[in-house]
């Protein structure tokens, strides 16, 4: 249970990070951020990177601030930063509610928001938040910067569109209008364990009917994503228990469920049906 040998690089600036990546990524190098997923995988020797580019000393990457109409989250902003609402309004409350579901307190002191996105575990709460809120991701390399929509970033199980020399430097979450309602519900077997399904919903009420509904599902498919079929059920309707059941049904039907030894497709659909409905119920509380 000891990681294999590697060479550690400690850049101080983002320029040094991308230079180091350009040099060492082809030699089996990768980024070390919080390390709360990578280091266990290394302990099991499922990963044996030859080089780790440790970004924990890089100036400025801990920046967490509002820029215009979005919240900017730097690459070494840790989960624990969201324990208390980081901004007034629904987005800060939403992030503070969701973060309590991520692993455990000591893990949240080290693990990072952007690291979760780059790791792209289908069960990741932050991937679900990013997908539901249409996050934009700032990706840097020696070849230049690009901004990627989350739908083009998350590609599958622990798979993203990052090239090997690219570094996820920042995530941008759009601010939510003050009257946004939200609800989140996650099902897992133990506190802090991986989500077997999770739902995040946001919407606004205009003249008593739902508008701008966003329904995201995580932990059920190979990546977190919005489910337009469920959003269509909600938009233009007044919230009601029957409507929430119908939205859950639409989400359960729309997904392509992941299966594993413990979880059949049918069970996963049933979980999605339940977490969607419960997230919607929480949005009214």
């Amino acid at each position: 249970m000891k990681p294999a040998p590697f060479t550690r690089h400690v850049p101080r600036t983002v320029d040094e990070v991308v230079s180091a990546l350009a040099e060492f990524a082809p030699l089996d190098g990768r980024i070390l951020a919080g390390g709360q997923s990578l280091v266990p995988i290394m302990a099991f020797r499922m990963a044996r990177p030859a080089h780790l580019i440790d970004i924990n000393e890089v100036e400025g990457l801990d920046r967490l601030a509002v820029d215009g109409d979005y919240l900017s989250i730097g690459a070494r902003v840790r989960h624990g930063a969201f324990h208390k609402p980081v901004i007034d309004g629904p987005l800060g409350k939403l992030l503070a509610f969701v973060v309590s579901h991520i692993a455990h307190y000591p893990i949240r002191m080290r693990g990072t928001f952007c690291g979760s996105l780059a790791h792209a575990d289908p069960a990741s709460e932050w991937c679900l938040v990013a997908a539901t809120l249409d996050a934009q991701l700032v990706v840097k390399s020696v070849r230049g910067d690009r901004i990627v929509d989350v739908t083009d970033f998350l590609e599958g199980i622990m798979s993203t569109s990052l090239a090997e020399d690219e570094f996820l430097a920042e995530a941008r979450l759009p601010l939510l209008p003050d009257d946004t309602k939200f609800g989140f519900y996650e099902f897992s077997r133990r506190a802090g364990d991986f989500a077997m399904s999770a739902a995040l919903v946001t919407y606004r009420l205009v003249d008593g009917v739902i508008t701008d509904a966003c329904v995201g599902i995580g932990g059920a498919e190979d990546r977190a994503r919005r489910i337009p079929e469920a959003e269509n059920v909600l938009n233009g309707q007044a919230p009601s228990p029957e409507l929430f059941v119908a939205a859950g049904e639409a989400a359960a039907t729309a997904i392509e469920p992941l299966e594993d030894a413990q979880t059949t497709a049918e069970y996963r659909r049933d979980l999605v049906r339940a977490v969607t409905r419960r997230a919607l119920e929480r949005s009214t509380q």
Binding site: P5, T7, H104
Partner: protein, 159 residues
């Protein structure tokens, strides 16, 4: 690849000049290189919490951090809780409330609870239970740990 680097770990205020490979975890360095064996190692992949220590005041899994990453930072371990012969209120509360049986998980629980209560003295009982779910104990069934931490929390708030 196995080049070693000179670092200084400051554990409970005492400096330890050591020379470690990049792959050396903080947990192993604390125990093997600095001889501070109060910190226990259980699962070595971040699940059990036995190796929890405070780094710059934050409770972290020392098996998921590399020793070189803690160079120059303030580390606190279970050896630093007591003041001479005077136990820390958290240690005394664990004893008085039977918060341990075999004692293997205890250093991790003590550092977790002390770290969280120093950062958030007014944390609710409900949130404390969530915090204590971070670490594994296979003896007590947790009820006496919860009792101990709640008792110590009251005392720590008064002091």
């Amino acid at each position: 690849m196995s080049d070693k680097t000179d670092i200084t770990l400051t554990i409970n205020g005492q400096s330890h000049a050591i020379r470690v490979e990049s792959r050396r975890t903080l947990a192993d360095a604390i125990r093997e290189d600095c001889g501070q064996t109060g910190t226990h190692i259980g699962c070595e992949h971040g699940v059990c919490g036995a190796c929890t220590v405070l780094v710059n005041g934050e409770p972290v899994r020392s098996c998921l951090m590399f020793a070189q990453q803690a160079d120059g930072k303030q580390i606190r371990t279970v050896e630093g809780l007591a003041d001479g012969d005077e136990m820390h209120p958290m240690q005394r509360a664990f004893m008085e409330n039977h918060g341990l049986q075999c004692g293997f998980c205890t250093p991790g629980f003590l550092m977790l609870a002390v770290g969280v209560l120093e950062r958030e003295p007014d944390i609710s009982d409900h949130d404390l239970i969530d915090v204590l779910s971070s670490n594994l104990c296979r003896c007590t069934g947790y009820q006496n740990i919860i009792k101990a931490v709640r008792a110590a929390a009251v005392e720590m708030r008064q002091s």
